[in-house]
């Protein structure tokens, strides 16, 4: 008599973590490509911030490595500093960037460093955490040590606030932007009455969004006859049926299918967490 053992392996989808990159703040006239090479104190501040993430078991995207990759691949298409920063953030694949502004203050009662730390979601601009750290005044010229102290004074608090926002995302969904517009030659407009109900397209879309947004949570920035923008739509992190990871691509596909069912010819383009739908 043979014994048959059956092993059932339960697979639980591991949640995809956001990619976080720590970047330096740049002032007018500063070059983000060389700023870290020129300033050891900023390097110290950025490294200390990354260390804080490491201590929480979270791996960040290295700004210097991405910068080098961008230079090696001749990514930069403009000399405008704001454009270069945007290009670095976009090509890094980062979902969140943490910007560190280091200000050195010299005075007769001692020197100090003030650190302004801000964390944003790249595609939506949603703020995740903001802290101002002070090193305190000391009779020292070691601004690196002061920068390090300023980071240490707020890093834990900064990450705790960020974690409450992450908890909110886990419980209430992640934000995406949905921008619906028409091809120049399209015969349709937002007021076009389509589908079996004969309702205006904008209403059809909103009714679909009402059912599809996670916990019915969405916000319309504005609607014109040629465009409809949802500047904040919550989507779940996990598919509610299968438990698999869910993302803006999947949400865009559902919207695409819905529009096709209405007899339309949509096109979709997804950049990060922004979904662009163009109706032909």
């Amino acid at each position: 008599m043979s014994c048959i053992s059956v092993f059932i392996y339960a697979q639980q989808a591991v949640t995809v973590q956001p990619k976080i990159m720590v970047i330096p703040f740049i002032k007018e006239g500063e070059d983000i490509r060389t700023i870290l090479e020129a300033d050891v104190n900023r390097r110290i501040a950025i490294t200390k911030i990354k260390e804080a993430f490491d201590l929480r078991g979270f791996t960040t995207v290295d700004f210097t490595a991405k910068l080098k990759a961008a230079k090696d691949n001749n990514i930069f298409t403009s000399e405008n500093q704001t454009d270069i920063k945007t290009q670095i953030i976009q090509m890094s694949g980062a979902d969140i960037y943490v910007q560190a502004e280091v200000n050195e203050q010299k005075g007769q009662s001692g020197n100090s460093v003030t650190l302004i730390l801000t964390g944003y979601e790249v595609s939506t601009g949603n703020s995740l955490s903001n802290k101002v750290g002070e090193s305190g005044r000391f009779y020292t010229d070691d601004f690196g040590k002061l920068a390090s102290k300023a980071v240490e004074n707020i890093a834990g608090d900064f990450l705790n606030v960020m974690q409450t926002k992450f908890t909110d995302i886990v419980n209430n969904g992640k934000s995406v932007i949905v921008d619906i517009s028409f091809d120049p030659g399209s015969q349709y407009k937002m007021s076009s009455e389509i589908g079996s109900d004969g309702l205006p397209l904008s209403d059809q879309i909103e009714m679909w969004m009402e059912k599809s947004a996670f916990k019915n949570n969405y916000h319309i920035q504005g609607t014109t006859d040629l465009r409809m923008i949802f500047d904040d739509v919550k989507i779940p992190l996990k598919d509610q049926v299968t438990g698999n990871n869910y993302n803006p691509n999947k949400f865009a596909l559902e919207l695409f299918k819905f529009l096709k069912e209405l007899g339309l010819q949509p096109g979709k383009d997804i950049k990060g967490s922004t979904i662009y739908i163009t109706i032909k």
Binding site: E152, I154, N160
Partner: protein, 141 residues
């Protein structure tokens, strides 16, 4: 008579009497008043008050301004009953106390004796333990 009955049923919560002294992201030094039947019990009470505040209230001025677990103490404790029973009743909390030094003498109060203690807590280890046992989520989504 009705007022007496109502007052009897009203719950009066004592003050936590927990004050932040100093700290970093990895540890926190807190001054706390504990009450017990003797010095040992008072110190344990003091230490456990520290963890109550860290878990369910947060500590202003520190790097742990927000509660580590959540604000709804009774719900969180019943969700993770096994963990908290071991933590408090079996005094597992002591494994996260770096030091616990009385900063005042023992004084007689209503209900027993009170003592002021300076407690240093290993926040990193505590957070890691809460994550390991699923009481809180790891950093991230």
């Amino acid at each position: 008579m009705l007022t007496f009955i109502i007052l009897c049923c009203k719950t009066i919560y004592p003050s936590a009497e927990v004050n932040y002294l100093s700290g970093t992201e990895q540890m926190v030094n807190i001054r706390v008043v504990g009450v017990g039947l003797d010095e040992e019990q008072a110190i344990i009470n003091a230490e456990q008050k520290v963890f109550d505040v860290l878990f369910f209230r947060g500590l202003p001025e520190s790097q742990q301004k927000m509660p580590m677990v959540g604000s709804d103490q009774s719900t969180e404790m019943s969700k993770n009953k096994k963990y908290f029973d071991k933590f408090y009743d079996e005094q597992r909390h002591k494994t996260f106390v770096i030091s616990s030094i009385p900063s005042s003498g023992l004084s007689k109060v209503k209900g027993g004796k009170s003592i002021t203690v300076d407690v240093i807590v290993n926040l990193s280890a505590l957070r890691s333990d809460l994550e390991t046992f699923g009481v809180i989520r790891k950093f991230g989504l």
